[in-house]
Symmetry: D2
Subunit: 347 residues, 4 copies
């Protein structure tokens, strides 16, 4: 049994980790920390866990995290980079659900997250936890920086197009029109995500710039081995979970005859968590609700020169906690689907 610790389990990615790990047959939940809630049974905060998780929060100093095999950070940005060095030194693997180890360029990190990176050598060592792109590196990693929720959907949605030897689409004119449920904003007391503000409403936000843009650009460039340019427009949907990314790409004249459906199917062949749907499909976010699946449909309206790629994922599972468990499974030599076989909840 893998001994697992969680730092900061009071947010949505934390409680989602608990949901998944409580049912994971290869895991022993060992510690969960919260300075503020020290001593409080986890199930008192999240009654959904009554009967499933008997653990109580403990303050970080008492938690003996360095006796764990792996520790997940479900914390605000900046916490993992402060605590990871000591854990790694104690032989504990670290999986960070926040942004500390996502962006390789420390200046870029500073610009978008408003803090200098305190841990540059680890930043270099850290592996970007997107298994469908980085599986081998993850297998041998000590430290994982998990992708953000939007970036997961954009990178997997564009990967088959960009991973080819030469460009198939105009890689400097990519447009990602993305829509997220409100849980993506976290379990924080804020006005703009109140039900009375966000329900029965729809809006774009962050059009000027969003933290997930540099991360995604970095990831897409790594996949392509070339410079790319992406416009990313996020929107807030009055729903709890789910991301729907509508990705646009202009097909280059020399690629007009490519069978893009086949390209996508081939690219993701054998992947357990990526489902390329039949031609003409319109995947719904609820078709992956509470599961680690990501579904993709490939459209070429009117047979023209614009590709429209539709991608759905559960932002808290494949976009966060589930992807973290998937990485853990790889790192510890388990079957990649262990504990991740939940059937999506519909309706």
């Amino acid at each position: 049994m893998i001994k697992v610790g969680i730092v900061g389990g009071t947010g949505y990615t934390g409680v989602e980790l608990l949901r998944l790990l409580a049912a994971h047959p290869g895991v022993q939940l060992t510690a969960i920390t919260s300075r503020k809630e020290d001593g409080m049974p986890v199930a008192d905060m999240f009654p959904s866990l009554r009967g499933h998780v008997s653990l109580a929060f403990s303050s970080p100093d008492k938690a003996r995290l360095n006796e764990c095999d792996v520790v997940f950070f479900a914390t605000p940005h900046g916490v993992a980079m402060a605590q990871a060095p000591e854990l790694l030194a104690a032989g504990v693997k670290v999986i960070d659900l926040a942004a500390d180890f996502r962006i390789k360029d420390p200046a870029m990190f500073d610009k978008w997250y408003g803090m200098p990176h305190s841990c540059l050598d680890l930043l270099e060592e850290a592996v970007y936890g997107l298994p469908e792109v980085n599986r081998e590196a993850i297998r041998n990693a000590r430290l994982i920086g998990l992708p953000g929720c939007y970036p997961t959907s954009m990178q997997l949605g564009y990967a088959p197009l960009l991973a080819q030897g030469k460009p198939l689409v105009n890689e400097s004119m990519l447009i990602a029109d993305c829509k997220s449920g409100v849980s993506g904003a976290g379990r924080k007391a804020e006005v703009h995500t109140l039900l009375a503000e966000a329900a029965d409403n729809f809006k774009a936000y962050g059009v000027k710039g969003h933290r997930h843009l540099p991360e995604t650009t970095q990831g897409l460039q790594a996949i392509a081995g070339r410079k790319i340019a992406l416009t990313f427009v996020p929107h807030l949907v009055p729903m709890i979970r789910g991301i729907h990314s509508t990705l646009y790409a202009h097909i280059l004249p020399e690629a007009r005859d490519v069978d893009f459906q086949a390209l996508y199917e081939r690219h993701f062949e054998g992947e357990k968590f990526v489902d390329v749907m039949p031609p003409g499909s319109h995947p719904e976010t609820r078709s992956v609700r509470a599961s680690n699946k990501l579904r993709i449909a490939v459209h070429r309206p009117d047979g023209g020169d614009l590709l429209v790629i539709l991608v759905v994922e559960d932002n808290l599972v494949k976009g966060a906690a589930g992807q973290g468990v998937q990485c853990m499974n790889i790192m510890f030599g388990l079957d990649e689907t262990t504990g991740l076989t939940q059937v999506p909840v519909l309706p």
Copy 2:
């Protein structure tokens, strides 16, 4: 034109007051105060008001509220009782949407609102702003304590039963099972009313005791002229606006032959904002959305001895801002429906 000031216009009852007053033909919006937002145009905070309200927030000291004819307080509990004396002294009428002047017993106020009442003589003078019960007193009032949202629905729902010379129902066994949309909790940064917490979910709260219970009991006793006992169980509905109160009352043996439908119709005859629906109706909250109407249906399942009264209102209109405007119309001798003729928004 009535010169109107608003103290504290950044919450839901405040913006609703603005929506109603901006379209009120007899009103000149003169000042709206917010210390924090001094100088900010109201329409910058609430873009829905762009093109309708050109006023900016001003800090309380600059607002010259004592040049107004009437000032509404859409503030946290405790503000109105601190500022009302000065305004009244200057000849300004005051309508408080908070709880400062609702509960006549200062000890009770202290117990439920956690602060001593600082203004006892005004408390005695203040008129409870429920026009269908208190119209004449309102007409001559300088100071109005507006009912809470739940209490409005419970009092108007029970009034025809209790306003009779002798009891028709067991008045010590009243049960009000009430359901409110989330805007009732206000525009405050809190976790439990986030969309991701409150959507696709239903729960009771405050079963142990809720501030609206003593207020309602006081009001029902005033209507009945007798002691009554009420159990009040509020619930949170994943919707923005609306209250649905399901009221239960056990019919006394001597009242078995009463035609309760007729009783209700007679009681509210001529009332412009109370609609007694035909027998067998199930009023919906959306049938009063964004309007000052309150609709009531009277049921007696299986012809038995239990009355079931269904009441719907928009908590922000008849349950707050609209009722305030209705009181203002009465106080200033306008037709009671002036500025309150909005057709409910459905769907």
Copy 3:
């Protein structure tokens, strides 16, 4: 492996059965029938099942249901009573999720469901599938009539009170104010459950009479061994899943000293799917979302003589498909929790 057939898998209880059975380790999904969708892979209708269920719908005549060990009916009322006799004769056990075998009095069935009962001897034999009340009878049953969604919550909520030798509460004045998500109305093309009708809205319905009332009364009387009288008022909540029942009972003078919290805890001791929450709790529907748990809280406002029992369940799981699987587990000698250990999905 238990060979399982499903008749009528295109509604919500059908797809929920599929979700549960696809992950059930002791089950082999053998056939699912739909005359209309003959040949269509189930996952084409419900993409959430892609990768989990490879079965296709087959027309009833081809489905060879009598080679199954057990057949679930997730059909409109009236279908199971037509087809059960042949299956039972072939040695197949039958679990009906519709109402055909719930109400023991055929006249009552006819009155509420608008059709004569065609299968009176089986009606007598059929066991009411509420394990926490009827476990032993279920163990030996060939034919199960599963409780309705509301009745499950009302019966388990009132059971500890009524199951005592002598009355503790006024059993002729029970009031159940129940609230259900919209999936309870089924996957039927209807106007009143459209999102544009039912969202951001709340209403009561069926106050005159609802099919679940006679079923619940019958069940409560069986538990009490006495006559009871219940008023049942259902409401429609703008959410997908979940039932919240607020149950009222007037405590008899002789029972004033009973510790009702302890009574409930004792009554459900050892039950895996019933969770009596700590005093003062307000269970939320989302705390049982997508799980077979039912949670109960016991309140006695102000220490008075009115009990308020709060009950939540997922109407599609404990209120339908999950309870069916629970019965199946009992009937086939499996651990009762097999395939039913899902952690509720929150948020």
Copy 4:
């Protein structure tokens, strides 16, 4: 007073017309037809209208529509073109909210609406009811074909760009990523728009082709006086009202120095129902809820060569009934805003 008739008032655009016309000071609601509901008071179907509309539905033959000054068709496609000729011959003006008179090319109409056009000469005469583009033609029209909901937002969103003498953006690569609330699908009994299907969910639809594409292309070409090519991807949002269109356009090298914010402000100067918001704004659908306003924000992320135009409208008001009333006001010489001054309902 303008005598107004409505054909087919049982859908969402019909009830929205009723809401607006009931409060319109220059209108006398004269007749509303429904064969099925002959004799039923309108307020029985829509209780929100109780106290506001006393009219009953009448069957088309009894309705004496030709005594009206203007008749609105809020009917399925195909009805208006069958009945308009007789009304026009009787001197009655006609405003069609359906698609019968939107598309000028009858072959195109046939292709997308699956019926031959039966009324070619009127098709030619009909004026496309988009006041901000076609005001003068509307003033003198007998017959209006009102734009669809999506097309209104796309045409007004792109108009300032295309209405210039020479192209500013690549007009053959326009992309409109649009999102609509569920009321856009109408008040029809269907499964896919049930709350239990559409809530807490997001998806694209009609990516292969949507009826609003040819209409929008025709409109944009009329504005530009040039051929354009548009990709239109509609999505379904779990909300009742509102459309949010995110419009993309690649700026041509020769237009890099254009001040697009100023261009938009200038273009819509004096328009009462189009609000160009300040730079950096993210308009929300709720900021126009239940009003005839359309709000636009102009973005140029990172100062690059891609314009992102955000447009919001209420699909039932500016996208349907409100626009119809606006056209009527113009046709009858009223102030264009008469009866359309509602303040948006927020929250």
